[in-house]
């Protein structure tokens, strides 16, 4: 089964241990720039709530544990730790955890190259898609060109013109290069004729004259 990863959560090393030691820890939610923001907000709320709850629980437990230690080391203060005192301590810890939670959740987009690698890049998928599309659309031009050549008879005459002395078996690249050069020359000549002609009729006449004279 293939999974689509749009967000991931980074939990720092020794998360629980740091919380037990009352150290601040940060959870980082890394997300793709194009993900749905409302879903991200919901996820952030859930993570923050879980973080706050855990922070609160640990801080209260720490407070009670501290009182237990104090009580064990000094039995004389035992009377001081009555139920009212414990409740007050728990409330204080609750307030502290609300004002200064140990767990923070932040949201960001991939920053480093390693993080960004699995992310989707529109230009990287868009451009090759268009490139492959255009390349295969050119097969239509290839087919049309071959038909025109067949119609005009150049395809049949192809083997007896300038290529006659060149064996395609031995020099296929030279054959291809020569074909490209002929295409380039004829196109450039067409552009030249278009540039120096004033009307369409003049361009047609000029190209015919050049073809007859040059041919």
């Amino acid at each position: 089964m293939r999974l689509k990863i749009r967000r991931y959560l980074i939990i720092p090393d020794n998360f629980s241990e740091k919380l037990s030691n009352a150290e601040h820890v940060t959870l980082t939610l890394v997300e793709h720039p194009n993900v749905d923001s409302s879903t991200t907000q919901t996820l952030m709320d859930i993570l923050s709530g879980m973080g706050d709850d855990q922070s609160l629980e640990l801080q209260i437990l720490d407070g009670i544990h501290l009182m237990g230690v104090m009580q064990a080391t000094n039995p004389e203060v035992q009377s001081g730790f009555d139920i009212t005192r414990v409740e007050q301590q728990a409330k204080d810890q609750f307030e502290v955890s609300r004002e200064n939670p140990l767990v923070a959740v932040i949201e960001r987009q991939p920053a480093s190259e390693a993080e960004a690698k699995p992310a989707f890049d529109l230009s990287s998928s868009f451009v090759p898609g268009l490139c492959v599309l255009f390349v295969f659309l050119s097969s239509s031009a290839v087919a049309r060109g071959l038909f025109k050549e067949r119609k005009s008879g150049t395809l049949r005459r192809f083997p007896i013109i300038g290529f006659g002395t060149m064996s395609i078996r031995e020099h296929p690249l030279a054959w291809a290069l020569t074909s490209n050069l002929i295409v380039l020359c004829s196109t450039c000549m067409g552009v030249l004729i278009a540039a120096i002609s004033h009307t369409e009729v003049q361009a047609g006449g000029l190209s015919n004259a050049l073809l007859w004279v040059a041919g």
Partner: protein, 164 residues
């Protein structure tokens, strides 16, 4: 025929000539994307060139095959355009809003997509550009594209007529 040259050599020469034009087309598209839109081109330019050459071979072979089986230039044009867009859609070239390409979406659509040469060309480009892979990693895609080229060219040689 005016000279004792096998017809496959002339078809091959035509294909090689058009490959040059396809390479120029690919170079312009990727060049503009890289220069003006800062699109990464991966760490293997040689891989991109090899894939582009094979892609050119496949597309021109398909063009010659279309010319061989069509009965008129208009029919060839229509078949070429329809095939061009339909295969591009099935191959995943037109799926631009999804982070998961069509050939990886699972199920029947993935199966159909992977039967299309476009999908394998896209897969090769994706491996080289997005996933940081090298030439060796795209050899399966290159092999499949070459296989398509051989099939297209075989049909072209079989059906091609030099005269009307």
């Amino acid at each position: 025929m005016a000279a004792p040259i096998p017809r496959w050599t002339i078809i091959l020469a035509k294909i090689l000539a058009y490959i040059g034009l396809v390479l120029a087309q690919v170079a312009i598209i990727f060049g503009v994307a890289s220069l003006f839109f800062e699109m990464p081109l991966g760490d293997w330019p040689v891989g991109l060139i090899v894939v582009s050459i094979v892609l050119g071979l496949t597309s021109t072979s398909m063009g010659v095959m279309i010319a061989a089986i069509a009965k008129s230039d208009k029919q060839a044009d229509s078949i070429g355009m329809i095939l061009g867009f339909a295969l591009a859609a099935l191959g995943g070239c037109l799926v631009m809003g999804s982070p998961v390409p069509l050939y990886n979406q699972g199920g029947t659509i993935q199966l159909i997509s992977r039967l299309i040469p476009h999908a394998h060309a896209l897969m090769a480009f994706s491996k080289l550009i997005n996933q940081g892979m090298g030439l060796v990693d795209v050899l399966p895609q290159i092999g499949i594209l070459l296989l398509y080229s051989v099939v297209f060219m075989g049909i072209a040689v079989w059906r091609f007529r030099f005269e009307q």
